[in-house]
Amino acid sequence: MSGPDLRGAAAIVGVAESDLGEVGQDRYAIELAAQASVAALAEAGLTTRDVDGLFCAIAGRGMAPLDVAEYLGVRPRYTDGTMVGGSSFVSHLHHAALAVAAGACDVALIAYGSTARSDSGRGRLPTGPPELPSYEAAYRPRMPVTGYALAAARHMYQYGTTRTQLAEVAVAARRWAMLNPKAFARDPLTIEDVLASRVISSPLSALDCCLVTDGGGAVVVTRADRARDLPRPPVYLLGAGEAHWHRTIAQMPDLTVTAATESSARAYAMAKLGPADVDVVELYDAFTINTILFLEDLGFCAKGEGGDFVSGGRIAPGGVLPVNTNGGGLSYCHPGMYGIFTLIEATRQIRGEAGERQQPGVTVALAHGNGGQLSSQVTAILGSEASL
C-alpha cells in the first residue's frame, strides 16, 4: 500500500447528534441532518459559512448532497455522496481526510439524518427504482435481518456459537445504554429476555435486532494544523481502510468472514497500530452476530472465538474490552444507517466527554462501519494528540 501519508493529517473537530429516538411526524430527515450539522460546527467554533466540503448520504435520496447543501445554504467546492449503506459515514471520514490533506477543501462536513421510526407510521418509507432483477425476492427473505440470520446460522454451525452468546451481545449493549442518557432503550435486560423474545428470522430474535429510531448526526473534519487552532482537542484520524466484496448475501463468499478483515488491516497499517493498542471499540451492531463477527475480523480474537470473547460480560461495562460504549444500534439509536454514531462516540471517548460511561485514559479508539448485507466494511482508527 502506498499513497500520501494520511496518518494524523486530518482531525475531527466537532461532532453532534440531532434529536434522537422518536421525533414526531412533522419532522424531516434533512432537518435532522441540518440540526446536527449546526451543533457539530458550533463545537468546532465554525458555522455553515466555513463549510467548503460536503459529505452525506440519506436513505432513499439519490442526491442527498444537493438536498443538504441547499438546505444549509452551503456552496461546497468538494462534494462526496458515497452511499454504501450504514458504513457510508466512516467512508466519508476517510474521503474527507484525503480531501483536506490534498487541499481540495478546508472544512469538511459529514451529515446524516433519518426519520425511519416516524416514517413507519405515515407510509413514507423510501422507495427507489428497481436495480438488477432479484434472484432472492421469490424466497421472501425479510431483509436485512435474514441476511444476518444466515450468517449467524453458519457461524453457529461452523464454530459452535450459541444463541446465549448472541444474547450476551444484546445484554452488554443494554448495560452500556443504561449509562447513556440519550439512549432509546434503557430498561434492564437479561439473557433470558433475549432468548424468550419472538424469533424474527432464526436464529435471530427481536432482541438480537437493532432498534428502529429517528436520528441524525454530523462530524466536522479539517486539516491537523488548522484543527489545533479550534476550541476542542483535535481527534486525529490515524488510519482508515475500506473493503467490500459483495452486495447480496448469496454472493458473500464465506458468511463467517467479512471484508472487515481487509478494511481493518488497511487501517492498522496506516495507523501503525494493532488491536492491542485500541482502548475502546465502537462498531456497527445492527444485529448481535455483527459484534461477534467484527471482533474476530478486527483482530480482537481469533476466527470462531467471538462467542466466547463476548461471554460473561467481557464487552460490557467493567469488562476486558469496552465495546459500543453508547449502547450501540441495539440499545442507543439506529435510524437505518448507524455508522456516523460510531465516529461521534469514539470522538467523545477520546476527548473524555462521555459522562458516566467514560473509559479512563482513552488514547486510541476504533470506529467500524458496516453497510448492506455484511457488504461494505470501513474501519477508522482515531486518536488523541498523545497518539501521534
Binding site: 434472484y135 432472492e136 421469490a138 424466497y139 425479510r142 424469533v199 432464526s202 454472493q251 458468511l255
Partner: protein
C-alpha cells in the same frame, strides 16, 4: 438475449440454469454479461443437475402464514443460490443436508422459482 431473460426462459422450461466461464471455468450465478472471477465475456450456459448442499438456513414464521425456510444452497457445479427447502417442516432443515432442485411454476411473483427437497438418494 439478455442474461436475465435467458435464465428465466430456461427456468420456465424447468431448468436450473447457470453460466460457466470458457476461460477460467468458474461457475457463474447470478446471470451476468461477464465472469466476475476473471473478467472474461466468454460465458456458456449450462444446466445444473440440481444437486447441492445446504450452506445456511433461516426460518421465518409470519404471523399470518406457515413457517418457511430461506436457505443458501451450494450446487455441486460450484455456484450458490438463495432458495427454500420444501416438503419437510421448515425447522427441520439443517446445514449440510443434501438437497435436489425442483422448479415450481406457481409463485407469488410472476415467474417460476427453484425450490429444493431433501435428497434421499
Amino acid at each position: 438475449m439478455t442474461p436475465h431473460r435467458e435464465y428465466t426462459d430456461r427456468l420456465a422450461a424447468g431448468e436450473v440454469a447457470f453460466q460457466r466461464c470458457d476461460d477460467c471455468r468458474a461457475a457463474v450465478f447470478q446471470p451476468r454479461v461477464l465472469c466476475p472471477a476473471c473478467g472474461s465475456t466468454r460465458l456458456t450456459w449450462g444446466q445444473s443437475a440440481g444437486l447441492g448442499t445446504v450452506y445456511s438456513v433461516s426460518v421465518l414464521s409470519p404471523r399470518d402464514g406457515r413457517p418457511y425456510s430461506v436457505a443458501l444452497i451450494d450446487l455441486d457445479e460450484g455456484f450458490r443460490m438463495m432458495s427454500t427447502v420444501v416438503g419437510m417442516p421448515a425447522g427441520d432443515v439443517r446445514i449440510g443436508m443434501r438437497v435436489r432442485a425442483q422448479v415450481d411454476q406457481v409463485d407469488q411473483v410472476d415467474q417460476a422459482r427453484v425450490e429444493f427437497l431433501a435428497d434421499r438418494s
